[in-house]
Amino acid sequence: MTKRPGFLVYGLLTAFILGSAAPLYWSFLIGSHTKEVITRDTPPLLPGGHFFENAQRVFDSVPFWKAFGNSLMVSSVAATSVVFFGTLAGYAFAKLRFRGSTPLLVFVVVTMAVPTQLGVVPLFIVMAKLGWTGSVWAAIIPTIVTAFGVFFMRQYLVDAVPDELIEAARVDGCSMFRTFWTVAVPAARPAMAVLWLFTFMMVWTDFFWPLIVLPAENPTVQVALNQLQSGYFKDYALVLAGTTLATIPLLVLFVVTGRQFVAGIMQGAVKG
């Protein structure tokens, strides 16, 4: 039996986690008071009773629910698409032999490091030509595939599906696609879930591209936060109530699926 760590380790970790949570508490704290509270010499310790009132003012100031729906739509379409194409290509790289597989996989790994965010100018030109700027589709398109998605699924499938199982399915007369569908996909499910969550979160929190293509009337949550901050920055109760509202959905997702999040990050790392 390994030795349990002492109080010092638990104490330091507790301090770190309190530090992690404190800014979120601050956001809710100020967001639940009236706007004058920030000018007091000592800030309050406990939340006040004005959160819903402030939230209502947020809804009056920016199209929050529309932003929420847009973010939900953009993030889930992107996540589903990344998982679909990532699993398909990742399976091919993990389990099938074909000419050029090694250089192509190297290409995938290298492009993971490429800052694709820097391609915004041509992306914008194309979207404008197509007349898509302003619609959520313009926000979705650049996120539908990621090199990371392919690499992540490949790393998982290499170990998760034994080669013998694939051969057995082939001997039994399964076509390639049927083998993929009935053998690889069920085995890949945990990794697919992690990749879905991860991509959902990355796209949800993305700011630069949605800010460029989406107008004030049709924003994502992050773009709406930008409007709130630039228009009402003197009213911290309002802005921080909005920030709290914007953060709650991902916090809920995190509380429900945090275990998978942690496992996914650690898994991707060990093999990467």
Binding site: L88, T111, A113, G173, S175, F177, V262, A269
Partner: protein, 341 residues
């Protein structure tokens, strides 16, 4: 996928009848056909599975990046579209712009203030987590909490904590008898505030990646070190860190690439109306300059030139960091010379 579908239709659920010999003689044309389909299936399916990804990635990932170079040598307005070929004029204009050098320095300064402390804290945190904790998942989730908060939200929250007049941090400084810091107007102070946001959001995430690598370190290395009389701290610096060097490199490189593109944090930290990095651009970054050229000044040519210059900056700094952290790893890992690849 299409190859797969065709083959699927051709091979029913029941396995094909055994045809030990004479398959290719042409005596049974249907089987020969099926045989050929199956061979095509094996040969082309892999390409069918990878090509959707590659096609889409070329369109939405690679093409824009490469085409940025094309746009950057044209006079290209946001409204009017493509104009004359101007060669490197856009690059000259961008580099001559007084805000260019300022933004480049700010970007690197914020990055240095965030990445160094972040790696050190993440290593320490990972070391704390790499013990036989009770409720390990709880602690791991705890340190990951800030990662689910969007950069835009982080910037707003920290913008108020670091408020020049009523911020909690300045109030705290005044309680202990110090004077408040002009976090938004002073250049270095604003960089420090923005670096704090980055550190807050990413330390736990990086710690988990490092923790994963630490757990793969063979435990008998620690036993051997302990027998040699190495303390816990000594074991950490002489066994753990050298062993996870590749992962440290990975974290350094990914945080370089991400950190130099910082945009949401400085933009939303700004409470001036223009939101382009403070009244004197004291915390304007390169990505903000891309946005400023393209969507405020409506000059896509210069925006593209700036993006391409940022790309070069990222490559240079990534290489510098790669060699620097390799050296660092080598110094820390002298005792493991034999294990070096």
């Amino acid at each position: 996928m299409r190859t797969g579908d065709v083959a699927d239709a051709a091979s029913p659920a029941a396995p094909p009848p055994e045809q030990p010999a004479g398959r290719r003689s042409g005596a049974r044309p249907r089987s020969a056909w099926r045989e050929r389909l199956s061979r095509w299936d094996v040969r082309f399916s892999p390409y069918a599975y990878i090509s959707p990804f590659f096609l889409l990635f070329l369109v939405v990932g690679m093409f824009p990046l490469v085409y940025t170079a094309v746009v950057s040598v044209y006079d290209w307005s946001l409204i009017g579209g493509k104009g004359d070929f101007v060669g490197l004029q856009n690059y000259r204009d961008v580099i001559d712009n007084p805000y260019f050098l300022k933004s480049a320095v700010n970007t690197v300064s914020i990055f240095v203030l965030s990445s160094g402390p972040q790696i050190v804290m993440a290593l320490g945190l990972a070391g704390l987590l790499d013990t036989a904790l009770r409720g390990a998942t709880f602690w791991r989730m705890g340190v990951l909490l800030p990662f689910v908060v969007a950069p835009a939200a982080v910037a707003i929250i920290f913008g108020s904590l670091f408020g020049d007049r009523y911020g909690l941090i300045n109030q705290a400084l005044e309680w202990i008898g110090l004077s408040g810091v002009p976090w938004h107007t002073d250049r270095l102070a604003s960089h420090l505030a923005i670096a704090t946001m980055v550190n807050w959001r990413w330390t736990g995430y990086n710690a988990l990646i490092l923790l994963a690598a630490m757990q793969a370190v063979p435990r008998d290395l620690y036993d051997a070190a302990a027998i040699d009389g190495a303390s816990k701290v000594r074991q950490f610096t002489s066994v753990t860190i050298p062993s996870i060097r590749p992962t440290v490199l990975f974290v350094v490189i990914t945080s370089t690439i991400g950190g130099l593109q910082i945009f949401a944090e400085p933009r939303l930290f700004d409470t001036t109306l223009a939101q382009n990095g403070g009244s004197d651009r004291q915390f304007s970054t390169m990505t903000m300059l891309v946005y400023d050229f393209g969507w405020h000044l409506r000059d896509l040519g210069r925006a593209a030139a700036t993006a391409w210059l940022l790309f070069l900056l990222i490559i240079v700094i990534a290489f510098v960091n790669y060699y620097a952290s390799r050296r660092f790893g080598t110094i820390a890992g002298l005792r493991h010379r034999g294990r070096r690849r």
